[in-house]
């Protein structure tokens, strides 16, 4: 058995036996317009707001376990891969694509090489354009990385999500987990449309903010 095969089996069992029961029983998801996410068989770029490590597990658990093998969250190399152990765990169990947050003189293609090749293999990536977890459940400025990726892969749909809840379950400032049911709102997929990367980024951000507003409206019927 080669390494790729082994990693897939480990990741599959990890999600089937641990993550999914944990996410669906201990926590709980209330997903709106789930079909918009599931009709996509890959490649796809999933974009979401980010408040907690739980975000990634929630999004991945929405998919059938076999599809989860194709999902790769883009994660900060300096945080998730700073030790050999962490790097092994996150690459094997979650399947992260590490990316450097401190780009110096590398060219764009080099930084995005792993992401581009994953998308070429019909895989799905998750990216949090805020760059890091927020602390007060506010949507922060989006970095333009998503637009650069979308520009290099104009045929790959970008699916914006808004997640509410994980900031209560496991906030950045606390290490104790408290169960809550999370809400996930899924928007229609969009494609890169030859605008500037800045404009595309703000377009994605306004979609996420609109999802947030629908959530607010639902809260105050």
């Amino acid at each position: 058995m080669d390494k790729k095969h082994f990693d897939n089996i480990v990741k599959f069992l990890f999600f089937l036996l641990l993550v999914k029961p944990f996410i669906f029983f201990v926590l709980g998801i209330n997903a709106r317009n789930l079909e918009k996410l599931l009709q996509n068989k890959g490649p796809a770029i999933i974009v979401a707001n980010h408040n907690s490590h739980i975000d990634t597990l929630l999004i991945m658990s929405l998919f059938p376990t076999l599809t989860i093998l194709k999902i790769h969250p883009v994660a900060a190399a300096d945080y998730f891969c700073n030790t050999k152990f962490k790097s092994f765990i996150f690459k094997t169990l979650i399947g992260i694509i590490p990316i450097s947050r401190h780009i110096t003189r590398q060219s764009k293609e080099e930084v995005f090489a792993d992401i581009n090749s994953a998308l070429k293999n019909n895989e799905i990536i998750i990216i949090y354009p805020e760059g890091t977890r927020g602390e007060d459940n506010q949507i922060k400025e989006f970095k333009t990385g998503i637009a650069h990726i979308a520009k290099m892969n104009p045929n790959v749909p970008v699916i914006p999500l808004y997640i509410n809840g994980p900031d209560k379950i496991l906030p950045k400032i606390d290490a104790i987990l408290v169960p809550f049911i999370s809400d996930i709102y899924i928007a229609d997929p969009i494609y890169y449309d030859n605008t500037s990367t800045k404009e595309f980024t703000s377009k994605v951000k306004s979609i996420v903010e609109n999802l947030y507003l629908t959530h607010k409206k639902k809260e105050n019927l």
Binding site: L27, G28, N30, G165, K168, P171, D174, I176, V178, P179, F180, I181, K218, E219, N220, L221
Partner: protein, 316 residues
């Protein structure tokens, strides 16, 4: 000792329940073929099947399995409640304590320590919740937070715990139905009460009874529900309980009133918070608390009725 006795009458009632459910499902599918719009009804029935099958499966095995099953429902309900209400960030640890009270409460139920079951949430958590909160020290919205958290525990842990505490009743006091007889009796009464109130309200309803909380409820529906539930309670008592017709008739009336108020209390809470359903766990029904609303009041009340007659758990 741990096994649950299924008397002939209980088996018969369970079989009847499945039969009724099957008939309704078949009717729904026939209507579906006739191109009537019953999609929502079908999803409701699907959820109903899952609930009934899970319940019977859990209660067939033994006492421990049944109590664990109720404990998991209690957890899901409490999580639903905490997700529905606005909570303060500073209360995260208090909420964790609230969650941890569930296994303790169900431990008391399993060991048959009924006095502790009676007291743990109303007394000990009444002290422990504010204790943990003052240790954190956020006084902004203190009373509201303290009140909602304790109310959540009373609803989702204390009241739902009563489903499980029926298994502590000695089977000898109910030769026709056993412990499961009591539980089946109260579940049938609550569900039929909901249905009868709906039926009488739809056919005869004129005068709104709670126009601000639940505009669809009428005086006629309420009274029709109370009297028909009293009658059903009286007729069914012989098969599942040790109560006489008269005892059960009065009991049925009380339970119908309690069920009605349980239902609209949950409606009032949902209106206060501004949500339509308490959750989305049961497709077609909403959340667990949407389904259990009237039982939150009736199940504990009926237990007290039984305990009152047979002195259960007062002095042990």
């Amino acid at each position: 000792m741990n096994t649950i006795t299924l008397t002939y009458n209980v088996k018969f009632c369970i079989l009847l329940l499945y039969l009724v459910l099957a008939l309704i499902t078949i009717a729904a599918y026939i209507l579906g073929f006739m191109k009537k719009n019953v999609e929502n009804f079908k999803t409701r029935m699907k959820s109903f099947w899952i609930i009934v099958i899970l319940f019977t499966a859990a209660f067939m095995f033994n006492k421990l399995a049944a109590i664990i099953f109720i404990m998991l429902i209690s957890y899901l309900a409490l999580k639903e409640f905490f997700s529905m209400i606005p909570t303060r960030r500073s209360d995260r640890r208090v909420l964790l304590w609230a969650y941890l009270s569930i296994p303790i409460q169900f431990y008391f139920i399993y060991t048959g320590w009924i006095a502790m079951f009676y007291l743990f949430i109303p007394l000990y958590l009444f002290i422990l919740i504010p204790l943990r909160m003052v240790m954190i020290g956020d006084t902004d919205g203190f009373l509201k937070s303290c009140g909602t958290i304790h109310w959540a525990l009373m609803t989702c842990v204390y009241a739902i715990g009563y489903f499980a505490v029926y298994f502590s009743i000695p089977e000898s006091i109910n030769p026709t139905g056993g412990t499961l007889g009591f539980l089946l009796y109260i579940l049938i009464l609550t569900i039929s009460n909901d249905f009868m109130q709906y039926l009488f309200g739809k056919t005869l309803g004129r005068h709104k009874i709670t126009p601000k909380v639940s505009p669809n409820k009428t005086v006629e529906g309420f009274l029709g529900g109370v009297f028909s539930t009293a009658l059903i309670a009286g007729l069914l008592a012989k098969f599942l309980t040790p109560f006489s017709f008269g005892q059960a008739f009065i009991l049925g009336g009380i339970l119908a009133i309690a069920g009605f108020f349980g239902d609209i209390t949950m409606s009032a809470i949902k209106r206060d918070i501004g949500v339509k359903d308490t959750g989305a766990l049961l497709p077609g029904h909403g959340g667990i608390l949407d389904r259990l609303d009237s039982m939150i009041f009736t199940v504990p009340l009926f237990f007290h009725y039984v305990a009152y007659y047979y002195n259960i758990g007062i002095l042990d």
